[in-house]
Assembly symmetry: C2
């Protein structure tokens, strides 16, 4: 299964790419600019301390969307729509994981506040725009980039997964749990991303308050 990470050169995307590359998954690092994607793959080689990452490929976002069996979107909110528009025609009904957090910081405000989107959540915004071109699942938006890039440590955070297609949710949960430390929790329909995405600014707030970079959450008593 080829995992295409759209916006794979940002912290969150690079972190996911690193984690999946480390365990031998086939990863495509996508970027608007092919050279940036290639630089990100070079950085991954450094961070993974290897000259050779045969399972990782750099591509433009469009090619990544075309080649990927599962697509993960990791761009900031202000880049979400323009990125979706640029790749929509390259999708063909794949599982599309939206990891966008609707942070007010993306609009010049505070990263500790959310903004309300008309569709209810960033993931529902993707679903409304992509329609039958993808099966949208919300996941990974609470997992800190810092936790993901600290590749020697477990990620101490649950991955809350919401989506209208149960089988697609299960596929994403299985993928998420390949990352050491992550436990995946199915939260039901995609509309629940309205709550899950809003947790991210709270975790950023707790990071700032406590001078850390990796506050996460665990659901208890499951």
């Amino acid at each position: 299964m080829k995992i295409a990470i759209i916006g794979g050169t940002g912290d969150q995307g690079l972190g996911l790419a690193l984690r999946f590359a480390k365990i031998g998954e086939h990863v495509i690092v996508g970027s608007r600019d092919l050279k940036k994607a290639e630089s990100a793959v070079d950085l991954m080689k450094n961070l993974l301390d290897t000259n050779n990452l045969p399972n990782v490929t750099a591509m433009t976002n469009q090619d990544a969307a075309l080649e990927g069996d599962i697509i993960i979107l990791t761009v900031p909110l202000q880049a979400q729509m323009v990125t979706l528009k640029s790749i929509k025609d390259h999708l063909n009904g794949e599982i599309f994981v939206d990891a966008t957090s609707p942070l007010e910081g993306c609009l010049g405000g505070k990263a500790t506040r959310y903004v309300d989107l008309w569709e209810g959540s960033a993931a529902e915004r993707s679903a409304e725009f992509l329609k039958e071109k993808a099966i949208v699942v919300s996941a990974f938006c609470n997992i800190s980039a810092s936790s993901l890039t600290s590749i020697k440590e477990n990620v101490e955070c649950d991955c809350l997964v919401s989506g209208d297609n149960h089988d697609a949710n299960l596929t994403v949960m299985e993928l998420a749990e390949k990352i050491s430390g992550i436990k995946a929790v199915e939260c039901g329909a995609l509309e629940n991303a309205r709550i899950v995405e809003k947790l991210t600014p709270l975790l950023i707030n707790l990071n700032i308050r406590n001078k850390i970079k990796n506050a996460g959450i665990r659901i208890t008593n499951l």
Copy 2:
């Protein structure tokens, strides 16, 4: 310190009253109807397996608000404003803990969805209405009533505390951590209740999905 629980006969209020009574705190169980408050205290005696609870008193909400050194509001959203109106004149600058969750279920909808309040959160609604009559702190809204009333077990949930007065937050955090298993996490200003309160419908959703009654959350890496 006398802890007055306004709406102390509901599940959440009774659970908090039980936990505080069990550790010897002075608790006032408030209700619109004094007889209901008295019945709740009788139920507490049964659940705590004692004939004698000298540290627990039944009162009307008004008297409870007047007598309490710290006030905890545990009513459903549809009763919040009418309750606030009934007790406002009996407050005198005390710490006022709002544990209200803005569940759509309170308006005939689903308990797994939130409603947006004009003030941003139920706690901010209390603060706007009570003005200088109280120092409002948001806390306890994520702690399941079932966990609280299972008095022999630890409460496996963090208590996320938000409020504009840091000292008041610390007082509430200290109180919360008297309950076995609870860890209190300060989340900053009262506006953060907008996120924290919205977690409750997600936890209710996870309860329903997993056929449990006590899903909770823990913040990791603090």
